[in-house]
Symmetry: C2
Subunit: 315 residues, 2 copies
């Protein structure tokens, strides 16, 4: 059955006889600061610990522990290795807990937050994949402005959020991991006079001949949009519909010759479907960072971790 000629891609050619027992033993020694102490903690005899440590040092090719009359203390190499050993034992611990813990799939919902633009772009794709892989998952999505997301996060009402970096003061205890940068898009319905295809660029000033739909005041894409409009000489947005509701903005754009200035992701789906056409306007490539916000202290649940993975993959 096994052909010895097959060069199977082994995880590591030099797994060289390291076993979990070596690591747990090593950790115990490091914490008890005595071989005998480690032995009793592990419910082993002292010689067993001695031998195991010796084996570990054999494959390491150097001393990891200084033994003396006063017990055992880690060498420099040893304490460097301790970090890895701890990581393994900790991971092992959490794995065995996850295994024996009652599987309560969906007894508690995953509460996650997202910006409206994310909730209409990146997140649905991730959730579709999630429900394909995990039919019983129960997810609650809070779609809100960034300050509300941060507030909900710090208050513990959601586990994590896809959002932006907030004011410094609000970011206490919250870590941010960048996913992508969001840039502006200018779209209209395909029948729109300015929707001339990618060949003929539209002068930015031409936009002002049509009603504009812009994001709600105070939001990040709105600030971008304002900066853009100011750069083409339209200081005060007149003939404007401003709303935080993507649904409203989209409907207005579909039903009229309005020009919608919004986040690229928010309109992506409709652009792909041909329901909306991107106008070839030279928008500034100012990129607003969007990422995962989470509390630094509390670890994410399994399901949350999985969703974040999916979002990363989709980004």
């Amino acid at each position: 059955m096994q052909e010895p000629s097959a060069p199977v891609p082994l995880p590591s050619t030099a797994l060289s006889r390291i076993r979990l027992r070596h690591l747990t033993c090593f950790v115990a020694i490091a914490e008890e600061r005595t071989l005998a102490g480690a032995a009793t903690r592990l419910r082993l005899s002292q010689p067993a610990v001695s031998k195991t440590l010796a084996e570990l040092e054999l494959v390491a090719g150097r001393r990891l522990v200084d033994r003396g009359r006063a017990g055992a203390s880690l060498t420099e190499d040893g304490s460097r290795f301790l970090r890895h050993a701890l990581e393994v034992t900790r991971a092992m611990e959490s794995a065995s807990q996850a295994l024996t813990r009652e599987s309560a799939p969906g007894i508690a919902p995953l509460r996650i937050g997202a910006l409206p633009t994310v909730a209409g772009g990146l997140l649905p794709r991730a959730l579709v994949r999630l429900h394909r892989a995990r039919p019983h998952a129960w997810v609650q999505v809070l779609s809100a402005s960034n300050p509300e997301l941060v507030a909900a996060l710090t208050a513990g009402r959601i586990e994590c959020a896809i959002g932006r970096m907030a004011e410094p003061g609000a970011m206490r205890g919250i870590s941010f991991e960048l996913l992508y940068t969001e840039s502006l898009a200018v779209v209209a319905r395909p029948q729109h006079p300015l929707a001339t295809g990618p060949d003929r660029p539209v002068p930015a000033s031409a936009l002002l001949d049509y009603p504009l739909v812009v994001p709600g005041p105070g939001t990040a894409p709105r600030l971008q949009a304002d900066a853009f409009l100011q750069s083409v000489g339209a200081d005060a947005p007149t003939r404007c519909t401003e709303t935080a509701s993507l649904t409203l903005a989209r409907a207005v754009t579909l039903l009229s010759d309005a020009v919608w200035i919004t986040s690229r992701h928010a309109s992506q789906l409709d652009v792909d479907r041909g329901l909306l056409a991107p106008l070839d306007v030279a928008v500034p490539q100012s990129a607003e960072p969007v990422g995962v916000l989470r509390r630094t202290r509390t670890p994410l649940s399994d399901l949350a971790e999985e969703v974040v993975d999916l979002i990363r993959a989709a980004a």
Copy 2:
């Protein structure tokens, strides 16, 4: 020797026979999608894999793998558990690599960046501990302004930095983890007329009777200081020494009746030593977040990880 009555704090009372082999076997099955395939990859016989998986499912109390004619596929529980199993095997892999890898302590320096205020406050304490634990460590510290730190980080000249969140555009691929928030301190030498001890608060306007020393223009503490000064009616800083050099600022303060407005951390050491006295001025508690900046993609070296740990502990 062992007293069976001693209730030694075991790592987990329900480690219940899970071994590393169960996890590696499970991972192999998940990836090969066939028990026999996993067996050949692990250089084992198919019955061995079958038995091991059966054991794992026994302690789990539920099926983790659906076996059928078409091979093996993970159940929902199984793929949930796969994450943990992978974490363990990955940690194990990196541990054994760290063990067998030649210890080259100090052949390459750790390059780390820090704001001047951090370089004078938090970082030295962490480095002292580092060198106590690891005498051969070779550390290069770049003390610079936050934009320079971010630039050095993205350019790969440093591994990580203790700094602030930068402009969104500059934070591409950089993650931020908050350590603490930095607030303003107003200090002077102990003989200073305003250094009256904690009992008699100093009116903020009294500061204006003395020469001021403020941080360099454009820096975060300077913006805080400006806001504070404006709030007490001193709009344009006159009679001011402004410098980015903490050394200069400190020396001027020690040698004269100047009042130094700076980050609390920057003056902490001298305050503790009695060389500088904090003035009991009602400064706004505007808190600037300071944290660890690192590239999202590239993992930190062991030494860097250790330094970050120490900094976290010191914060």
